[in-house]
C-alpha cells in the first residue's frame, strides 16, 4: 500500500486538508500536495493505462518527466486532458479522471492488446496495414483512430482567460535550484537585469531532499538566505510556476506562467505566456533520473529512486512499506537511507555494480540495510502493482536466485542533464563516458545575432552532479556569462559539501544477458509502450539513425517527449548496432520543454478581440439598419441590408433595382486612398500603372491597372490628379495596405533617389458612392457646390462643400449609372451618410451592399480584383489592352508581359457567359469541358467561370469567365459540369451585358 506517513513532508501543511476527487471518488490531501502525492497518500497507485497495450500505469516520477500519470483534469468546459499529476498542485475541489481505458480503470478491455503484444511489435502499423490499399482509409484508419489518443479532446469553449507579456533581460536564469539561485545572485550583484524562471512553486530544486551543506549551511538555510538577498535586488525578477518553454533565435524565449492552476480564480488569467528577449541565458535546469530496463519495470510501484525519496521527504508519502532499491550508482542509496529514516523497510539494495564502497553505500550498510552488489532485478511479481521481485545476477541471463516480497521498487539508472534549452537553439552535446551522460559541449554553444555564444549551462544540467560540483560549475558558468556581458564577478564560489560518490556503472539492460523474452518486458517508453525488444528489432531491420528509430518505434514521441526514455533507448540502439553511443547520438530536443496550453499561445486573442475588426465611420448605422456583413480583409462591409424578412437574394435584388432606377448609396470608405506627391510622382506612377498617369490633367480621374513585376494584375482603381505634383490613387479595399507597401518598397529599395512621398489617407476619409439616375439631384439637394454636367463631367473631380461638410467629389462609376463618389473627413462620415439618406428619401435612397455592387459591376462587364484575377491573370487576358500604354518605355510588369507564355494566343480570355436556361446560375469557378483527357486522365477544360450572379436588371443569370479563344467564339455554347453531377450549358457573349454604349453614366 502507498500511504501517508505519520510525520514528515516539508511541503505539506497537515493542518489544511484539501478535498478532491479521482474518478468521482472523494479523497483528501493536504495543502502543498501535488496531485501525485495526494493520490499516493490515498493508495491510488494505479492512475492510467498505457497508449498501445493499455497496461496498468502508476506514478513513476515526481516532476515534469512523468510519462505515466496523466489525467483529465477538471470538468465540462474546463476539462483538460493529459495533465501530469506530478506537476499539478492540489487544490480544494480538484477533479481528475484517469484516461485511456474502457469500461473502467480497474478493468480495461483494451488491456487485451497486452495479451497479443507479441503481435504488435515496432512498426506494426506500417507493416500490417499497407495492403490491401483501400483498407487503410476505410477499415484500418477508422479503427485505429477510435482507439488512439490518451485523453479526450475538450469539446466546449474554454471559459478561462489567458494573457501574454513582453519582458526583456540581460540574463534569464532557467531553473531556481541552488545553481540557478547562485547565478542569479552573482548577476544581480553585478547590476544586470535578471529574470529567474522556476517551473515549480518552490525555490531550491531537489537539493534540500538530497542533503548536504553550502558554505557550511544546511541547503535549505542557504536557499532561504540567498532568496532574501535576491528579493532585495530591484534588478532581479523572480517567478515561480513559470516554466521556460523554449529558446529561439537571438535570445528570444517563451516562458509559461501558470497563474491560477493551483488556486482557480475564475476571471483571472489562467496562464501567462512570457515573450522574452534575453541577452544571455543561463540554463540551470538540473538533471532527470533514468530508469533501469529490467523485466516488468513498468508495473505500478516501480518508481524512480529520486521520486520515491521526494514523496517521502517532501510530502510524507510512502509508496509502500517494503521498498527494494535497485541502482547502478551511489545516489540511489540516498533513497534507501531516506526510507529507512522514515521508518520504512528496505529489504535490499540491489547494486548492479560489482562493488559498492562509497560513502553512501557504507552509510546504508551502517544503517543495517542489506546491500547486494552485482545483482539485478530479473522479474517483478504482481498484476496491477508490485508484490515482489526476483533477484538475479546482473551479469547473468535472468535466473532467479531469490524472491523478495515488496510493495515498491526504487530504481536509479543514473542522471541525465536537462540539456533541452541548450539544444533548442542548436547547441551541441558531448558524451561524458565517465558519468555515462550527454552534456553540453561548451565549444559548440548556441550563438546569438553576433555569432557569439548566448547561453551557458551550470550545475547538474552541465553534468556536475554532486553538490560541490554543482556550486563550482554554477559559479564558472555565471562568471563566463558576466565576462560576455562585460561585468566582473565579485562573489566567491560557494562551497557545496555532500558525500563523495563513486562512479556509476552504465546499465542499459538488466540483466545483461537477458533473452528476447525478458527484453520484451523491459519498458523504455512507458507512455508509448516501447520496449528494449522493439528498439533491437528496429536495429535488426536496418534502422541505424536514432531519428528513424524514434519514428519507427515511437520511442520518445509521447507527451513526455522521452524525458525518461531517450538515453536508455539510444544506448540500447547503440548496443544493438555495435556503435558507440556518441556515434549514434541523440534525437534533438525541441520546444516546448513540456506541453503548454493553447490558451496561453492565443493569449488575449479570443471572443471580441480574437482579431481586430475594422469599422468604417458608418459601421454603427449599418448595424442598426440590419446589415448582413461580409469580411473584406479585416473590414466588415455590409453585404446587403435585408428588410422585413427578405432573403439575402431578395435584398440584393431590391438594392440593385433601386439603384438602377433611382438612387443607391454605398459606404465606400474602405477603398484605399494613397496620396503620391513630388517632382517625380508622375514618373513614378507611370512605372506603377500600365497606363499613363503623368499626362492626366489636374482635376481629372483615370482608371488604372497595377501589375506585379511578373506582369500579373495585382490591383486597380481610379487615380485623380490633385495638383501639379500630387496624385490620389484609389486602390481596392483589400489592396490599400499592400499597394502602399508596394509603393514604399519601390521608392525605398529601387528608386530611392526619386523625389516622391506617399501617404495612406484611407482612414482619414469616409467615402460614399451616390449612384443612380437621381444621383445628381441628391447632390444638388445637399447643396454647396456646382455638380452640373458642365462643371463636373464624367471622370472629373472637384473640391467643395456638400450639406455643409467639406467634400471632394469624384464623378466616377463602377455601376454604369450616373455616379459620384464623395470623400468627406471621416469624423463627419456618418453625418454625411445620414444627410444623404435624409435628402434622398424623396428618391427612395437605398443603402446597398457589396453584393449589389458586384452584381452591377458584372452587369457592366467590369472586372473585380480577386474574382477575374487570381495572381495568374494579366490585363491582356481581360480585354484591358486599352488600359496599357503602348507609348511608355517601361512599367512594372511590361517585360514580363512580353514573355512567350504571356503572349501565348491560347491564354484564356475574358468573355461573358449566358446560361441557356436564364434561371440557372453557373457556379463560381466551374470549368468548361473540352474533349479528351489530359496526361493524368482528367477531362480537358477550356475555360472557367470567374464571376456569376443573378442579374435583377436583366432578369437572368449572367457570368464572366476566361475561355480559350473566347472573344473569337461569340455565340458558341460551352458545357459546365457541376459538382452535383449536372451539366449546364452557357453561351459565350460580350462581357458587357448592360448599357453597352455607356449612355447611363454619361448624362
Amino acid at each position: 500500500m502507498s500511504t501517508r506517513l505519520a510525520r514528515g513532508g516539508r511541503r505539506i501543511d497537515r493542518s489544511k486538508r484539501v478535498e478532491f476527487t479521482f474518478n468521482g471518488k472523494r479523497l483528501t490531501g493536504y495543502q502543498g500536495d501535488t496531485l501525485a502525492s495526494a493520490l499516493l497518500a490515498n493508495d491510488q497507485m494505479l492512475v492510467g493505462r498505457s497508449f498501445k497495450y493499455h497496461r496498468p500505469r502508476g506514478v513513476v516520477a515526481s516532476g515534469p518527466e512523468e510519462p505515466n500519470a496523466l489525467v483529465a483534469l477538471g470538468d465540462g468546459a474546463r476539462m483538460e486532458p493529459n495533465q501530469r499529476v506530478t506537476t499539478t498542485e492540489l487544490f480544494d475541489g480538484l477533479s481528475a479522471r484517469s484516461q485511456n481505458h474502457w469500461p473502467s480503470l480497474e478493468f480495461d478491455i483494451g488491456g487485451l492488446n497486452n495479451h497479443v503484444a507479441r503481435f504488435l511489435p515496432a512498426g506494426f502499423y506500417y507493416k500490417t496495414f499497407i495492403h490491401p490499399r483501400p483498407f487503410w482509409k476505410h477499415v484500418f484508419e477508422p479503427v485505429i483512430r477510435q482507439s488512439a489518443g490518451l485523453g479526450p479532446a475538450p469539446k466546449d469553449r474554454d471559459p478561462d482567460t489567458y494573457e501574454q507579456v513582453y519582458a526583456f533581460a540581460d540574463l534569464v536564469v532557467i531553473g531556481g535550484g541552488v545553481a540557478g539561485l547562485h547565478a542569479a545572485r552573482v548577476a544581480g550583484a553585478a547590476g544586470l537585469r535578471v529574470l529567474v524562471l522556476e517551473q515549480t512553486a518552490h525555490w531550491g530544486g531537489r537539493s534540500p531532499v538530497d542533503g548536504g551543506t553550502i558554505d557550511g549551511q544546511p541547503v535549505q538555510d542557504w536557499i532561504d538566505a540567498t532568496l532574501q538577498v535576491l528579493e532585495g535586488m530591484e534588478n532581479v525578477t523572480l517567478r515561480t510556476r513559470c516554466m521556460a518553454a523554449g529558446i529561439y533565435d537571438h535570445g528570444y524565449m517563451i516562458g509559461y506562467e501558470r497563474l491560477t492552476d493551483h488556486a482557480p480564480a475564475p476571471g483571472m488569467p489562467r496562464h501567462r505566456l512570457w515573450k522574452i528577449r534575453a541577452a544571455q541565458v543561463l540554463s540551470a535546469t538540473g538533471a532527470i533520473e533514468r530508469g533501469l530496463s529490467f523485466p516488468g519495470n513498468d508495473l505500478p510501484g516501480v518508481m524512480l529512486a529520486g521520486a520515491l525519496r521526494d514523496y517521502v521527504v517532501e510530502y510524507g508519502v510512502s509508496a509502500g512499506d517494503r521498498t527494494v532499491v535497485v541502482t547502478n550508482n551511489d545516489d540511489g542509496y540516498r533513497t534507501a537511507l531516506a526510507l529507512k529514516e522514515a521508518g520504512l523497510v528496505v529489504p535490499a539494495v540491489l547494486d548492479a555494480r560489482p562493488e559498492a564502497t562509497g560513502a553512501l553505500p557504507e552509510a546504508a550498510r551502517a544503517q543495517g540495510i542489506r546491500v547486494e552488489t552485482g545483482r539485478a532485478i530479473v522479474k517483478v511479481m504482481g498484476g496491477k502493482r508490485v508484490t515482489g521481485i526476483g533477484v538475479g545476477l546482473q551479469a547473468g541471463e535472468g535466473s532467479i536466485l531469490e524472491e523478495i516480497a515488496c510493495d515498491a521498487v526504487a530504481m536509479s539508472g543514473g542522471w541525465s542533464p536537462v540539456v533541452h534549452f541548450w539544444s533548442h537553439t542548436g547547441g551541441k552535446l558531448v558524451w561524458d563516458e565517465a558519468q555515462a551522460l550527454f552534456r553540453p559541449d561548451p565549444a559548440r554553444a548556441p550563438v546569438g545575432a553576433d555569432g557569439l555564444p548566448n547561453q551557458a549551462v551550470g550545475g547538474a544540467a552541465n553534468g556536475a552532479l554532486t553538490l560541490g560540483a554543482v556550486m563550482t560549475d554554477s559559479h564558472n558558468a555565471i562568471s563566463e556569462v558576466l565576462r560576455r556581458l562585460g561585468k566582473s564577478v565579485s562573489d566567491p564560489a560557494p562551497a557545496g559539501d555532500a558525500p563523495a560518490e563513486a562512479p556509476l556503472h552504465p546499465v542499459w539492460v538488466m540483466p545483461q544477458g537477458a533473452g528476447s523474452k525478458l527484453k520484451s518486458k523491459m519498458w523504455l517508453d512507458y507512455q508509448n509502450d516501447v520496449k528494449v525488444s522493439d528498439v533491437q528489432l528496429a536495429a535488426r531491420e536496418g534502422y541505424e539513425s536514432v531519428e528513424h528509430t524514434k519514428r519507427y518505434t515511437t520511442l520518445g514521441m509521447a507527451t513526455d517527449q522521452g524525458k525518461l526514455s531517450n538515453i536508455n533507448g539510444l544506448a540500447v540502439l547503440s548496443d544493438a548496432l555495435g556503435a558507440p553511443i556518441p556515434q549514434v547520438g541523440t534525437t534533438t530536443f525541441r520546444p516546448p520543454f513540456t506541453p503548454i496550453s493553447m490558451g496561453a499561445i492565443a493569449g488575449e486573442a479570443r471572443g471580441d478581440i480574437f482579431q481586430p475588426l475594422r469599422r468604417t465611420p458608418m459601421h454603427a448605422w449599418h448595424e442598426a439598419h440590419g446589415a448582413y456583413f461580409e469580411p473584406v480583409g479585416h473590414w466588415r462591409r455590409p453585404y446587403c441590408y435585408p428588410q422585413g424578412g427578405e432573403s439575402h437574394a431578395q435584398a440584393v435584388h431590391r438594392e440593385v433595382t433601386a439603384t438602377r432606377t433611382s438612387l443607391g448609396l454605398l459606404d465606400a470608405s474602405t477603398l484605399g486612398k494613397i496620396v503620391v506627391k513630388g517632382p517625380d510622382a508622375g514618373r513614378f506612377l507611370d512605372m506603377l500603372y500600365t497606363n499613363m498617369m503623368s499626362t492626366l490633367p489636374v482635376g481629372r480621374c483615370r482608371y488604372g491597372l497595377m501589375c506585379s513585376e511578373n506582369g500579373f494584375l495585382m490591383d486597380d482603381g481610379v487615380v485623380a490628379r490633385i495638383d501639379e505634383d500630387t496624385w490620389l490613387c484609389h486602390t481596392t479595399t483589400g489592396g490599400a495596405d499592400r499597394v502602399h507597401a508596394h509603393m514604399e518598397d519601390w521608392l525605398q529599395c529601387e528608386w530611392w533617389d526619386w523625389k516622391v512621398y506617399t501617404a495612406n489617407l484611407t482612414e482619414h476619409y469616409a467615402q460614399v458612392a451616390i449612384v443612380g439616375p437621381n444621383a445628381r439631384k441628391l447632390l444638388e439637394k445637399l447643396g454647396g457646390m456646382d455638380v452640373s454636367k458642365e462643371a463636373l463631367g464624367f471622370m472629373d473631380w472637384a473640391d467643395g462643400t456638400l450639406a455643409g461638410i467639406p467634400a471632394r467629389v469624384f464623378r466616377i462609376s463602377f455601376s454604369g449609372e450616373l455616379s459620384y463618389e464623395v470623400a468627406v473627413p471621416a469624423s463627419r462620415g456618418l453625418e454625411f451618410w445620414e444627410a444623404c439618406h435624409a435628402a434622398g428619401a424623396d428618391f427612395g435612397a437605398t443603402a446597398y451592399g457589396t453584393e449589389a455592387l458586384h452584381v452591377m459591376r458584372a452587369e457592366k462587364g467590369f472586372i473585380m480584383i480577386g474574382d477575374e484575377t487570381d495572381g495568374t491573370v494579366i490585363p491582356q487576358d481581360l480585354g484591358l489592352g486599352w488600359a496599357i500604354s503602348k507609348k511608355k518605355a517601361d512599367y512594372l510588369g511590361k517585360r514580363a508581359q512580353e514573355r512567350v507564355h504571356m503572349t501565348d494566343p491560347t491564354r484564356w480570355q475574358l468573355v461573358g457567359l449566358e446560361t441557356l436556361d436564364p434561371n440557372e446560375r453557373l457556379p463560381d469557378g466551374a470549368y468548361a469541358k473540352a474533349s479528351g483527357t489530359n496526361a493524368n486522365g482528367q477531362g480537358n477544360t477550356q475555360g472557367r467561370v470567374t464571376s456569376s450572379y443573378m442579374s435583377p436588371t436583366l432578369g437572368r443569370a449572367i457570368a464572366m469567365g476566361l475561355v480559350l479563344n473566347g472573344p473569337s467564339r461569340m455565340g458558341e455554347v460551352l458545357e459546365f459540369p457541376t459538382v452535383d453531377g449536372r451539366v449546364l450549358s452557357a453561351r459565350i457573349v460580350d462581357p458587357v451585358f448592360y448599357d453597352k454604349a455607356g449612355e447611363k453614366q454619361n448624362v
Binding site: 526583456f168 501617404a759 482619414h764
Partner: protein, 180 residues
C-alpha cells in the same frame, strides 16, 4: 502597484486630435528650420517627441513627422507647413481623422503596454520624451509617456474599438505582472 480590485490603468478615448503628417528631408537644416518656425517645436530625435501630444512633433520615421495641433487648426497648419517648405520636396497633409487617440492612465500603465507591445517598458529603457511606433497586439500603434502614470496611444480609426478593448482587457483588475 495595484490591488486586486482596481484596474491597472484606465483607458479613455480622447476627442479628435489635429494631426498633420509631414514628410521631408529631416536632415536638411533649411527643412528643420522651416518646420520649427511653422510649428514652434524642435524637430525630435529618432523615436522621440517634442512638445506634447496636443501640440508637438512626433518622430515617425527618418523622413516623417507627425505634427500635433488642434483639430480645427490642422488643415491650416498643413497649408502653412506646405508654404514654409515650398521649394523643398515635402508632403504635408491633414490626417486628423485617420487616427484615434487614447489616454492610458494609472500606476500600471507600463505593464498594460508590456502585455501588448514588444517594447521594453522598464523605467530607464522607455520613459517620457520617447515615442514608439510598434505593434499593439494585432494592430499598428504609436505611444509616448506623458508622465510615469500617463501614456498617450494612437492607432488607426477603424480599429479604435479593438485598441480600447485590448487595452482595457490588459488592464483588468488583479492582473498586474509585477515587472516594474
Amino acid at each position: 502597484m495595484s490591488d486586486a480590485m482596481t484596474a491597472l490603468a484606465t483607458v479613455t478615448l480622447l476627442p479628435p486630435q489635429g494631426m498633420v503628417t509631414l514628410r521631408a528631408d529631416l536632415g536638411d537644416a533649411a527643412v528643420r528650420a522651416a518646420i520649427e518656425a511653422a510649428t514652434g517645436h524642435a524637430v525630435p530625435d529618432t523615436r522621440s517627441i517634442t512638445g506634447t501630444g496636443e501640440a508637438g512633433l512626433g518622430w515617425m520615421s527618418p523622413d516623417e513627422l507627425m505634427v500635433f495641433t488642434g483639430r480645427e487648426a490642422a488643415p491650416a497648419l498643413a497649408g502653412s507647413l506646405a508654404e514654409a517648405l515650398a521649394g523643398q520636396h515635402h508632403l504635408a497633409l491633414d490626417v486628423s481623422d485617420a487616427r484615434a487617440v487614447f489616454l492610458v492612465e494609472g500606476p500600471g500603465v507600463r505593464e498594460v503596454i508590456a502585455k501588448l507591445c514588444p517594447v521594453d517598458m522598464a523605467p530607464g529603457a522607455f520613459g517620457p520624451g520617447e515615442l514608439r511606433r510598434t505593434r499593439l497586439a494585432q494592430i499598428a500603434a504609436a505611444f509616448w509617456m506623458e508622465s510615469e502614470t500617463r501614456l498617450r496611444l494612437v492607432c488607426f480609426r477603424s480599429v479604435a474599438r479593438y485598441a480600447e478593448d485590448v487595452l482595457t482587457n490588459a488592464a483588468r483588475p488583479g492582473t498586474a505582472v509585477g515587472l516594474f
